[in-house]
Every structure is written in C-alpha cells, then in structure tokens.
Amino acid sequence: MKPLISNKKNLCFVLILLALGLSPLLLQMGVIQSSSFVLFLGKCICFSIAAIGLDLIWGYTGILSLGHGLYFCLGAYCMGMYLKLQATGGVITDFMKTGGLTELPLIWKPFNSFFLTVILMLAVPAVLSGILGYLIFKNRVKGVYFSIISQALTWTGYSLFIALSPYTNGNVGITEIQSLFGSIRGSANFGHFCGVFYLALVVLAGVYALSVWLTNCKFGKLLIAIRDGENRTYFSGYCVSSFKTAIYSFSAVLAALAGALYINFNGSITPSQMTISYSITMVIWVAVGGRGTILGAVVGAILINLCEYNLSSGAMVDLWQYLIGGIFCVMILFFKGGIIGLVTEQLPATFRKLKNTDRKPVRVKAKKEGVNHA
C-alpha cells in the first residue's frame, strides 16, 4: 500500500480529519461558539461512514442500492435498544408494555450486554444483506432492477418496523436515550461528548483506511472490473455474485456502524431514516462528492449536510429545496465525477485547454482579470 501522504486524495482526507478533530478543541477554546454545531459535525462523521459504504458498492462496483437506510436503521436500532435497556435497567420498556407485551421480548434480550450488542449490530445487517445479496446477485439481478428491488426492500422493512410496533415502537422509534458515555449535551458533559466524537472519528479513519486498502488491492480492481464488464469477469473465472454479495454486505455493515454511532449523537432513531427518500439522500451525498473515490463520499456527505444545516431554515427553506434538487440534477448531468471529479479532472482539463488555446498573453491577462472580477 502506498504511504498515506503521498496520495493527494488521502492527504485531503487527513486534512479533513484534522479539521474535524480540531473542532471540539476549538469549541473548548471558544473559537467555535456553538456546541450544537460541533455535535452536528459528529453526525456528519457518521454520515460519511455510511457514504463510504455506499460508494464502495455504487462508485466502485456499480450496484446502486436505494435501500441503505434499512441497514443504517438496523445498526441504530441495535445500539439504541442497548442504550435504552441500559437506561431502564434491562426491563421492559414503556412502548412494549403499551404494545401489550409483559416481558422483554426474546429478540431484544441479547441487547442487555454491550458485547453482544456490538456483535449483533454488525452481524444482523451483515447476515440480512448477505442473504438478500446472495439471492439477488445469484439470479443476476443487476442495474436498475437491483435499485428498484432494494427500494422495495426498504419499504418492506419500513412497513414491518411500523407494523410491529410492540417491538419497535412504530414510527416513534427508540427515543430519549443517552450516548454510550452518558449525556453529551452541556459543558459539564464535554468529556462524554469528546469520547463519542473521537470514537466516531477513529472509526471513520479506520473505515477510510480499510476502504482505501480494499480498493487498492486485487479485490478493489475486481470490483471495478465487475462494474465495467460483469460478464467478462464471470468468464475470467470469478464468481461475481459472491464478490458482489461480499461487498454489499460490507457496505451494509458500514451503514449499520454509521447508524449505531449516529444514535449516540442524535439521541433517538425512527423508521423515517429507513424511508426511500432518506436512502436516496445518502446516494446524493456520494454523487455530489464524487462517486468512485472514497474521499468523494466523505466530502459529499459532510458538505451536503453542512449546507442543509445552514440553509434549510426560515425563509431559506423554499429555496433550499430548489437548490438541492437543482444541484443534484446539474451534478449528475454535467459533473459526473462530483466535486472530486471536478477538482481533479474537469478543472485541470479546462485550465490546460485555456493555456493551450490562449497563446496570446494579452488575452490570458484579460481572462484572469475577468475571473478576479467575478
């Protein structure tokens, strides 16, 4: 593996990581005044992890899943139930009683233990996506068919989570929970907050490194091969469906991991994160950031969410909806590589063109001034 710093994309990532890592310190020093903003950055970290997972299957392998919200929620519900049971002392929760249950249902019993929770939080999405992926990919369902089926799957999951409200609390979901380290709000709990924040950051760094390694080894090359010529890959002797299942599972696990971290920041999880529109929102992050580069997923997730955070309030709400719709359309139409593609390929190409066509120095100057004025 190439050293991290020598690669410009990895260098970018390290810088982003630094910026994120510094933010709680800056908050403590008073440079950043709003703790809720830094807390939101924590959520962005979680979103980036989910986005990396999506990018691995979409950008690299060419499988567009419109149902990653399901896995995100599975992870979040697992962690949420653990935290909830911690708070209630391991006995039946209010919503279960309201739903007519008299004792803690068997499926939630393991979530009394942290160890089991972590195992299940990763294993449940892995196994579920593994089974689904195995069936779907074995039968050579691909392209948009897969997207549509994944959409339907999410919808199924959403319906089930709502229909089984004694177990899942319907559309209210799991609420009123504290993070793994206890309450993270208020200056008294700054230590707890840092704990959760840096935990998420370390996980992000780990996931990034793992994904970069994965995409650079033979496995990653094979993913690209599958994207570009699935049949060819079969005839080269690879069992494509098992590779697809593996990467789909891995990406589901990343989504679950993101969900599990997210609930620590958010304090609640509802099935609305499982809806199709939320799942497509995740795809938007990757598309805007730049599919096919791990960095793109991270940049897209953080950028879009920050924009939304700052722009979707008050009078800006109407505008924001037009803006996000428009940005997305334009990105897909003209900047297929997203922001990363724009910065690393399209802009340099334009610069080169400018340099090559504008031989006369006078015109170059005029152009430069024009840019400055703009």
């Binding site: 410009k8 260098l11 970018c12 810088l15 982003i16 910026a19 933010s23 440079v31 950043i32 005044q33 709003s34 703790s35 809720s36 903003f37 807390l39 939101f40 950055l41 959520k43 006995v91 209010d94 309201t98 739903g99 319906s159 709502i162 229909a163 409200s165 609390n169 319907g170 559309n171 209210v172 979901g173 609420t175 009123e176 504290q178 309450s183 709000r185 208020g186 958010n266 304090g267 609640s268 999880i269 509802t270 609305s272 994160q273 939320y278 940049v299 953080i302 950028l303 920050l306 924009c307 955070y309 700052n310 979707s312 309030s313 008050g314 709400v317 109407d318 990363i340 910065v343 690393t344």
Partner: protein, 409 residues
C-alpha cells in the same frame, strides 16, 4: 507535479473551514433598537407533515406579531428564528439543538407528530429549555420542559367516547393510521369501552400514506358497527372519507367520531362528504367567545379569507400568549424561571376557546371539551360541551379502568 497535488487539498480544506466558520458564526439577530427576546419556531415546512404544520406555524407568527404590536413581552420585542423539521424526527432533533444552542432561543414553539416531539424531548430536558407543543396527543407523557397546550386524552378522547356511549352507540369500530397516537388512543378506548360495557367490533390500522381504503371499508361493512372511531391522520382522512362516500354511505349509515379532523381537514375533504360526522376538540372556529371573534378575524386578515382556524391552530396561538403570561409572572425569559413560574402560580389566558390555565403539575392545560358536528358550510357546530374546563390528566390516573394502559413509571 507537487503543486498539482496540493491545490485540491487546499481547496478541500478551505471549503471545510469556510463551512465550519459559517456554522460557528452564530447569527446574531440585531434589532433596530430596544430589548429583544429570541424564540424558535420548529415545524415541518417540507415533507408529508407540512400539510398540517404550516397553519400552526402561521398561528404562532400571528400571535408573535400581535404581541410585538402591543408592546412585546416584559418590554422586549419577540424575534423568532424559524427552522424546518422536514417531517423527519431526526431533523427535528438536530434543528431543536441548533435553535437552543446556536440561536440561544428562550423557548421553542413546535412539533406536531408525537414522533417528532419524542425525538426532541430529551434534548429540551438536557438543555433545560422549554418546548410548547400545540397538538392534542395520546398522553402518557409529561415533561418539565414541555408545555402541552393541546388536549390530553381525558380532554378529547375519553369524553367523546363517553358521549357516544351515552348516545346509545354500542358497536364501535376503531380505525387509525399506524402510529403511536391511534394505537395508544385505541388502547385507551378499548379499556374505556370494556368498562362501559360496549363492544369493539373491529380495530384496523392504515399505512400513513395509504390511498386505497376499500379493504378497510369492506371490513367496516362486515363488522356491523354503528359508529367508527377515527384516528386517521393527514391524507388518510381524505382518502377514507372520499371512498366511503363513493359507496353512498353518509353519516346516517356510519357515524364517525374523528379526533384528527378539524376545520382545515374539512375543507380538503369537502363539507358535502363530511357533513353530519362528529368530531371532538376543545375549540372550533364557531366557538362563541369574544376572544375568538377577534382571533378569527385577525387570522383571516393575515392569511386570507379562505383560511380557517382550528383547534391546533388555536392551541398554537394560545401557546405564545401563555408563554408571554408566564414570562410576565416570572419577570424573566430564562426557561428555568418561566418553568418555575408555571409550577408555582396558575398561569391562565383568556383564549379564543375560553379561559385556559396551565396545570403546574402536569404542564398540560385545563380545557373545555366540545363535541361537534360538521355542518353544510364546512364549519363545525358544537353539540355538546363540558360545563367547565377539564383538568388535564395525561396518565388517566383518575380513571379506574385505565390502570391497564398506564405506563410503567
């Protein structure tokens, strides 16, 4: 080559920094002069809940403007910061936190769905801020950091069922959207009806976005019920009533008692379809008080002649005035002082629905219960009202039959 590597890196870094600074530079709401107090409005302006929440938000803005015009609260003008919850509870949580921590609001008026309220509840508790929740709900909750200006179940559901039983209805069909309010409400109703000796002949839940109700209507037909207790929410109501009407059924064939149909819903469903059906609220546009007359006029003046007022709209409007009253008693805007004032003194306000008083213990309001019938003009006529304001009892502790449905703690 080296330069080429560094440019994008710097660009990305700069982008991140600029966004961070963009966020951290908390928007200082500078006013032209005099003292101000900042409050937050947190409703869904986009997504599926925007249908209901926009009117509530409008009522809050109206109240704020009225108060400002009349000199403000404790001499300070109210400045409001608005956030969009986007019909997603997690967005509500994020935005609630942003309002409290970044915009430093003194209180927030907001939420509609129970899921959004529950998602923000712990945030308000942890920050010690105050949320005014304007919608009737399923009860079984009380938080020192939330004031519920809508009805608790004993101020809407329980009296309505009592009324139906007294009217001689014996076979009840419970129908609702599949979420927490209908499920809890129906549990309460089941317990209450069992106690009253009436029969529940069917219980059905529809998807929140369900558009086809033919199956449920078929089940209603098969059940032989004489009244439908309807807790559908939002668009489901429109589909249900349009589709029951197309089978030639009127209120005479199947009487319904609805808990989520107010004047606004009547206009979107159509009075021709809904006329004769019963609803239960604390307030109607037709409620006969002087305060209401002024309120209705002001609301229509501000938002158009075709807009109607409804119970949630009125409750949201009341919330702002109740907060004002509490601030004045406390002599402060700080949430803890306001909460303390509410808990120690009886805060009341001459609302359009009549005098409402905050119950310091439960943070709910004393409210009159009114059963109404939809008339030809799309408004609701009161046919029965409790003589006095009913004391809020979110946990239904004063009802013997309710032991089953009360939560654990």
């Amino acid at each position: 080559m080296k330069v080429k590597c560094i440019i994008p890196a710097i660009l990305a870094f700069a982008m991140c920094l600029s966004l961070i600074s963009c966020g951290s530079g908390a928007k200082e709401t500078t006013s032209s002069g005099g003292e101000t107090v900042t409050v937050g409005l947190l409703h869904s302006l986009t997504g599926s809940m925007a249908i209901s929440e926009e009117a509530v938000r409008d009522a809050e803005v109206l109240a704020i403007n009225e108060i400002n015009a009349a000199g403000g609260v404790n001499g300070a003008q109210i400045v409001y910061v608005e956030e969009d919850g986007a019909s997603e509870p997690s967005t509500f949580a994020t935005k609630a936190e942003k309002l409290i921590d970044e915009n430093k609001v003194k209180t927030v008026f907001g939420c509609w769905t129970s899921s959004s309220r529950k998602a923000v509840k712990s945030i308000f508790e942890e920050y010690g801020n105050l949320l005014w929740y304007p919608v009737q709900y399923e009860g079984m909750e009380s938080s020192s950091n939330i004031v519920y200006t809508g009805a608790a179940p004993n101020q809407q559901i329980v009296p309505a069922i009592e009324y139906l039983v007294n009217q001689g209805y014996t076979k009840f069909f419970l129908m609702g959207s599949d979420y927490v309010f209908p499920r809890t409400a129906n549990e309460i109703i089941n317990a209450q009806l069992a106690d009253a000796g009436a029969e529940v002949v069917g219980e059905e839940y529809a998807d929140m976005n369900q558009t086809d109700f033919s199956s449920i209507i078929a089940k209603i037909e098969a059940s032989g019920c004489d009244v439908i207790v309807n807790t559908l929410n939002g668009t489901g109501n429109v589909s249900f009533f349009k589709q029951i009407a197309e089978k030639n059924y009127t209120a005479e064939d199947y009487m319904t008692m609805s808990f989520s149909i107010a004047e606004e819903e009547v206009t979107t469903i159509g009075a021709d379809i809904l006329k004769g059906h019963m609803v239960s609220w604390n307030y109607y546009e037709t409620t006969d008080t002087a305060a209401n007359e002024a309120f209705v006029t002001a609301y229509k003046e501000a938002y158009g002649e075709n807009r109607v007022t409804s119970d949630p709209v009125e409750a949201a409007y009341d919330a702002v005035y109740l907060w004002k009253a509490a601030c004045e008693v406390a002599g402060s805007f700080e949430p803890e002082d306001v909460i303390a004032a509410m808990e120690s003194t009886e805060i009341s306000y001459e609302a359009p629905e009549g005098t409402i008083t905050i119950d310091g213990e439960s943070h709910h309001c004393y409210k009159k219960v009114r059963i109404g019938v939809v008339n030809d003009g799309g408004l609701i006529d009161e046919i029965y009202a409790t003589p006095d304001a009913v004391k809020p009892d979110p946990y239904l502790t004063s009802y013997g039959w309710a032991a089953e449905v009360q939560p654990l703690s």
